[in-house]
């Protein structure tokens, strides 16, 4: 790939690098944030990053199955958000805060 084309020709790699960057940002958030809701949002971000690479693969390989996977991921993400938020509401009702350390009761 000639270096002059990097900015003018958009290839699969561009999308993959973008997707990886989004994924890393999401992962960092999951690992470092204190607020459980933010952590969940970062998980959504990671899922979206994966969706992006699915669509990119689908486009550049000419197969539609990638879009189906996105469809599934979307559904599962919605389900996960619903349950997660319900749990968070329970935690909030108990502690009046949604800090991740309130989820540390299950330990060895």
């Amino acid at each position: 790939m000639p270096s002059t084309d990097v900015f003018t020709t958009i290839t699969l790699q561009h999308y993959l690098v973008l997707s990886a960057a989004l994924f890393m940002i999401g992962l960092t958030g999951v690992l470092l944030r204190r607020n459980v809701i933010v952590i969940m949002m970062c998980i959504e971000l990671m899922l979206n990053a994966v969706n992006l690479s699915f669509i990119a693969f689908s486009k550049f390989s000419g197969r539609i199955d990638g879009q189906i996977m996105v469809f599934f991921v979307l559904t599962i993400a919605a389900a996960e958000a619903a349950v997660g938020l319900a749990l968070i509401v329970c935690i909030f009702k108990r502690f009046r805060e949604v800090n991740i350390r309130f989820f540390e009761h299950l330990k060895g």
Partner: protein, 646 residues
Amino acid sequence: MNHSLLMAILLLSPFVGFLINGLRWRKNGPNLAGGIATVAIFISFICSVLLFVDLVSMPQEARRIAVTFFEWIAVDRLKIGAGFVVDPISAIMILVITGVGTLIHLFSVSYMHHDKGVAKYFAYLNLFVFNMLILVLGDSLVTMFVGWEGVGLCSYLLIGFWFTDREKAAAGMKAFITNRIGDAAFLLGMFVLFMTFGTLNLHELNELAPTVAEGSWLGAATLGTLLLFIGATGKSAQIPLYVWLPDAMAGPTPVSALIHAATMVTAGVYMIVRLNAMFIAAPNTMMVIAVIGAATAVFAATIGMTQWDIKKVLAYSTVSQLGYMFLAAGVGAFGAAMFHLMTHAFFKALMFLGSGSVIHAMHEEQDIRKMGALKKYMPITHFTFFLGWLAIIGMPPFAGFFSKDLILEKAFASPLGHPLLWAAGVLGAVMTAFYMTRLMALTFWGKSRVPKEVHPHESPWLMTIPLIVLGFLSVVGGWIGIPHVISAILPGHPANILGDWLAPMLKVPLSDAHHHLDAATEWTLMGISVVLAAISAAVAYQFYVRSPETPDKIAKALGPVYQLVSKKYLIDELYFGAVINPLIRLSKNLWHHVDVNFIDKITYVLGDLVRGGGSLVRTLQTGNMQLYAMYVGLGLVAILSFVLMR
């Protein structure tokens, strides 16, 4: 309609009835539940008749409708489909099961009208019919065994139907456990047969049966059939496993009529008839069957003479009659066994239903000492019961005469028979006549001993109609198997329909295929048994109607012997002392010493090991989910670097 559809309806109709009533057992009232159940069985009956008609229209040698719905088990050599067969033998069975079943369901609608669990009752009854149909139609021993276990389950459920009564619940368990012993033997028999012949298909087993009689006791055919026969003694209440049947009378009376007289208990006989070629090949087994059958016939009859409970008398009578069927099977007269099975189903179901009618009228009183002279209160019940009585004591031309006579003749004349077996049979017949007459006399005739507060009355028409139908069948049921000597003197010479019908399915004893008595001997044998039975009945009439004090005197004179017999030879006590209690003691010892000291210790040590290991590992589990996520990330790093390095 095509056959598989008919067969499916035949089988599934009771099952659907079971589902409907079973799922709505709190809601369905007696009329609805009974209606559903009766209609379900009646549909099956119609299917049976249609199949039967089809079967008749086929050429004699090709009378076989086989349907395989799907492949059920396929393991290496073992291939078992959900296959069902209607052939001349099973056709008789399904007609009896669904026909008599319909009548008994109809009877139950009225009989169980005031019971709270009536829908549950009908659900069990339908489930029973479903399983019974699987049993008789199954084309392999395994399919048959499914039905075999299923009817056992239903029997247990129905005997213990009033399970709040401790004794009745115990009776159910007794039946179930006793049957389990037989079932274990049945399973072993299946193993032996499969090991030797490589198939469990009934048809194929009959084809593969050795053509030469096995002399050894340990030959495959002998051992296998012997084990199967032990299974049959459990289900069909023969010595030594008969003890559950009298107790099974704890269930509702129509159940006793359907399960413990007409259908389920005959499963053992039916199984032997199905596998007749295999049994014929094992003369030792045949001998055992004949001896046990004859012994049971006599033994149970003696107990029957001393019982006071109307249903117990009938129960011992059933055991005794089943003994006759085994006797017939044992001497190779399978047709006679089937014949007696059928006629017995008619008249014994009739008598049980009649006793149910009596019990109903007497407000749940079963002791015949508190009855008497019911004839004038319940004319229809009395009349039909009277017909049944004539049939069972073998008076010509009632149904029982023909079948019992055929059995006795074969016991005498068959190459596998013996005059001693015949003598035992005749003895049994004499005693049967005695105790049945005693029952009639104490219940319907003589002086009334009915307590004042009880007002017997005739039962409603829903109960009497089945009685009338069965009474009719008890009269004419035997006419399809009229022996040659009698038909020779009758106008029109009616043929032996049943004999011809079953002939292609049955194998005659190997040594002498065409062994016939001359007419004179046959007449003589017939005359002896009939006359002796008639005399015995007359004696009983004399004892219990004319001079009611005589039996007590005789009982006193016999003293300990009478006591022994009336306590059923103390067989139950013997079983408890010799088998059950030692077994319980052994189990308790094993528990206290082996289990606690040895096996438990091993598991404790293992558990401690696991716990120790766990407490080591759990330091990793801090509860901090973000750390967990980091572990996952590290795992990803490891996997990715592995993939990239490769």
